[in-house]
């Protein structure tokens, strides 16, 4: 082998300016706010009646690393990794709704994220997920469409919120929704003024202002296995084994108390306590949906904290550049 080809040490390479630290992924790894306590490493023990503890493994979020997007976020929950970017464009409002802008969320599950996806148009799963994300975003009023109007009937912002799955390891809906929320909170739009003479909206680079956001919709998903076990945040290995999956989306009411926004249960969700070897036949077990809703409300605070911290970190980073 040529002498030159022997790898130099990392330090010399850094001195040569060859090796970077990879801002996006390094920060993602550092920011383990949502750490998993040791007791739940074996999350198969999260049975009904004992604990519906949601801290399966860490979730982390990081926003504002993609310069070509108006807002961006990267979310990782265990293996599942989602990148989301917001692109703002200007369009004429709908004739029937002259005072409303547009919010267009889409998720892409490319062939790279899991062997079962093939290249080509969006798979059925991606279509269903996009539709659910759209409904959640529209019904939660997180960004009110009225706040996106530049000039009534003439010009309004269109926010394209595109999420791409880099690694599919289960519970993609939760990760995608969190990524979309973080990216929207990270987004900054230029000042836009409608010019009557030109008949178009003109923008100014400064000042850029963040979007006006309302109560954050946050998800929590569970799976029911073998009619006995409730698993939080199922992985790609577990998902096909579940009898049913439950997704709870919570928002906040005016007194900032958690409130239910949306509940989706797919499949027959019956929990028979007697089948649970740990809880035993004598244990008092609530209905599964009740447990899920309580756990989702309990998780909400932590999740909101992670997102806020990620958004704050993203802002600090942008200022320093």
């Amino acid at each position: 082998m040529d002498d030159q080809l022997v790898p130099t040490t990392k330090r010399t390479m850094q001195k040569m300016g060859l090796v970077a630290s990879g801002e996006m992924f390094r920060l993602m790894l550092i920011l383990r706010v949502f750490t998993c306590p040791e007791s739940c490493l074996d999350f198969y023990t999260l049975f009904v009646g004992i604990s519906a503890n949601l801290l399966r493994y860490f979730a982390s979020a990081f926003s504002g690393s993609i310069n070509t997007a108006d807002g961006s976020a990267l979310v990782r929950m265990g293996g599942t990794t989602i990148v989301c970017g917001v692109k703002a464009e200007i369009a004429e409002p709908d004739l029937e709704k002259p005072d409303e802008g547009f919010l267009v969320p889409n998720i892409d599950l490319p062939a790279m994220c899991h062997p079962r996806f093939k290249p080509g148009p969006p798979s059925d799963e991606a279509q269903v997920l996009s539709e659910r994300l759209y409904e959640t975003l529209a019904s939660s009023n997180f960004i009110s469409p009225q706040s996106l109007v530049i000039q009534s009937g003439k010009a309004a912002w269109t926010l394209y919120v595109d999420a791409t799955c880099i690694n599919y390891d289960g519970n993609v809906f939760d990760a995608a929704l969190i990524a979309m929320m973080s990216a929207l909170m990270n987004a900054k739009l230029p000042r836009a003024v409608y010019d009557e003479e030109l008949g178009q909206a003109m923008c100014y680079h400064e000042p850029r202002s963040p979007l006006i956001v309302n109560s954050l919709p946050l998800p929590a998903s569970f799976g029911i296995f073998d009619s006995a076990h409730l698993l939080a945040d199922p992985t790609a290995f577990e998902e096909p084994l579940m009898d049913s999956t439950v997704t709870i989306i919570t928002g906040e009411d005016s007194a900032s108390k958690p409130e239910l926004l949306n509940v989706i249960q797919q499949g027959l969700g019956v929990i028979v306590p007697a089948l649970n070897p740990v809880a035993g036949p004598d244990s008092v077990v609530e209905n599964a949906l009740g447990v899920c809703i309580r756990a989702a409300k309990a998780r909400r605070g932590e999740l909101a904290g992670i997102i806020r911290e990620a958004v704050k970190l993203g802002e600090g980073r942008k200022l320093s550049v």
């Binding site: 850094q14 300016g17 692109k87 200007i90 790279m112 994220c113 394209y160």
Partner: protein, 260 residues
Amino acid sequence: MALSNFDRRRVNGPEESFSPIFASEKSDSNQWKIGQPRSKRGPLDIRPTFLQPGLISQANGSAYIETEQTKIACAIYGPRQPKNIAYSENGRLNVEVKFTPFSCRRRRAPLRDAEDRTIAMAVHQAIVSSVRLELLPKATIDVFITVIEADGIEGVISSASVAVSAALADAGIEILGLVVSCSASVMAKEIWLDPTEDEATASQGTLILSCIPALGTITSVWQNGQIPPGDALNAMEACQNRCTDIHGAVAQALREYSNS
């Protein structure tokens, strides 16, 4: 027009939308003029590279590469059985490139351009001669590349080639050597390595060279624009010298990953 844009498989926005029109140019966007030196780095410097193999747990091999504003993830699936493809004595290497809609300055609406195929072909050319496909009859190796953020096509092709090669090594597929790639642009009398999008636009021509430094062979050269033959040779030499350094960095990243 309106109907052709409608895609029932995605959530659709308004029929037409335009990226914002700015009243003034951004103050910090500096336009390069002939004779000016390169700002921020030397002419033969490349952008610092971050390479992390093994990021995608579902794939057989994967790598993530970041060179400042270029961010690319790459996954390898295979060797696996192809579907509906006739028998072939040699394995096949498929390369698919996908741009995320937010990866460029203008939004890239899905299904509206063919640039990804050009890039896929360039990456395929760079990589294919390093893979020992004769050992994998009847099999395919699928290479999927997702461009998260792009800063110049040249940078995307060279970074993607490096990432694919590292991912192939991570997947344990037999290769003759690591392929590394470097791009150059000709700016008046100077040669600037690893141009950004702005620099490539301002240049007379660009060149991407991929090689296997361990064997001292070149796998692909891709030149665009007007470059005098002498400058082209100089640019290739500069690229090849820099490739040796990149090769060291890639080998180091792979070694660190396999040790951890």
